[in-house]
Symmetry: C2
Subunit: 328 residues, 2 copies
Amino acid sequence: MKPLRRAGKHYLGVDLGGTKILAAVFDDRGKLLSREKKATKPELGLTGVLQRVEECIHEALATAALPHTAITALGIGVPGLVDTKGEIVRIAANLGWHNVPLARLLKRRLDIPVTVVNDVQAGTLAVGEYGTGRGLKSFVCMFIGTGLGGGIVLDGQLYRGSTGMAGEVGHMPVIPDGGPKCGCGHRGCLEAVASRSAIVRRIVREIEEGRESVVTQLCDDDLTRLRSRILSTAYRQGDELVREVIHEVCHYTGIGAAMLINALNPQAVILGGGVIEALGDRMLPRITRSAWAHVISASPDRIRIKDTGLGDDAGILGAALAAQRSQL
Amino acid sequence: MKPLRRAGKHYLGVDLGGTKILAAVFDDRGKLLSREKKATKPELGLTGVLQRVEECIHEALATAALPHTAITALGIGVPGLVDTKGEIVRIAANLGWHNVPLARLLKRRLDIPVTVVNDVQAGTLAVGEYGTGRGLKSFVCMFIGTGLGGGIVLDGQLYRGSTGMAGEVGHMPVIPDGGPKCGCGHRGCLEAVASRSAIVRRIVREIEEGRESVVTQLCDDDLTRLRSRILSTAYRQGDELVREVIHEVCHYTGIGAAMLINALNPQAVILGGGVIEALGDRMLPRITRSAWAHVISASPDRIRIKDTGLGDDAGILGAALAAQRSQL
């Protein structure tokens, strides 16, 4: 994707997840100026969540010491289906939203242009512009976080599909006739075995069934606090349960990557999301091995499997980038 | 894809398979004027096979009552990897070919321009120009024949991937940790369970292990004669073994279709190849059911699963079309 350069402008990037809101200010070269975080609390309903988004944005502006008039545009990534104009959230299950005119609602509150994007597509944009996808004509992103989503770049462009649903790599069936039940209603989807939610569910269940794990202690006996960072610590301490589960995740993620490589023959498969940020150094070699055990007629030196190079910032950066592009 | 129209020209389309050679003459609107068939006999070696291709072409010309000077260009589809210029067959395992400069060799024999294409990509071209893919911006083809290959059309263009290997849908792992061994060396690839070769192998094995089937009698006790047409007859007569195997094929083909729909969100998945031509009316409803049991967030009325609308001619028609386009 071509780099965009305009002098002296600032953009807000918001990543609105089911658990947390991230808001950040970037300059027009994608440099992070400030970044703030807040719990989403979707139980507060639409107005409550919008209020929290607005607060988080004001905090990010304050940290960057910028007035809100210094912002050219705002991009917000949401975990759901967004209309092609970047205005309306059609469905966002984690937020309980249906047909929410998010761009209009935020514009009314903040009085700056707003672009709404799918969070994973935003991350993919950022990977193509500033991350390890830079300069590549074709790549596929897989983001392993609360869910597991993907973005596809072909001929240098984000490929959205005929109804905007392309890249649903989390719902490729990796255990077609069995496996755990997925949120989508089917069984054996990649997301149902390899997302952070799936990992946590499995570990909690095994601990409840009496299995020992250092995780219990790392969470202070409160397993609802189990996050990627704790998984990483437990893995690095050699915890058997966590290693077993993570290795299985690598196995299935590799199969998912292989499916995409076989179908699309991209230049790279790029992995991101909280789980990869925390454990990528350990997971990537295993994911790569599993992928190449399932790929046909292509060679590992031609198609790379790597991380985003952007750490936790892919989502907010991509949202800001979508805002920047909407102003061209 | 845009239709191509030029007045009064004729094109040769050849489909060079591991088992048979098809050669056909088309006018510039894709109308079939003649069609001939010959066994390939790859054991005769490169020169022997080229000799047979040439004979088959001469027979097709004779049937069409056209001199070979009436032909503007020839396209030949091969089951293998072709260079992007359409000149050299990099690898064609069924023919035992490696780096064969097929365009040059045939041009020397026939003295007309020659374009070499992958057979499945040729079929996909034909589906987009004359078949049920006509007018669609995005679709995925799956051809179930001796092997199982696919072609992907995005934004109205055949998508070849970064190294020309896109569309290897036969090697998507549908039974990732098991299943029959595939020719590619892996296990559980779609081709290893759903291609005609896989179907025949399975039926022959079960009959050898003592299972009853009407197939034995339909083949006059010579199971090497088991082809799609016999499978179709046995299926329609209610043969239990054949029905069981075909239903499993539908199940896994549906899973493969679902993977492609989830990843690419195309407007249609279009099925072709000998097995579908023989049994499509019975298989398509089952493949569709299986696909929709594994697809997320898209609706069957938006993404259709259908046959090519071209019968057995997709390969030769697509090869002729590739020749026609090469002359633009």
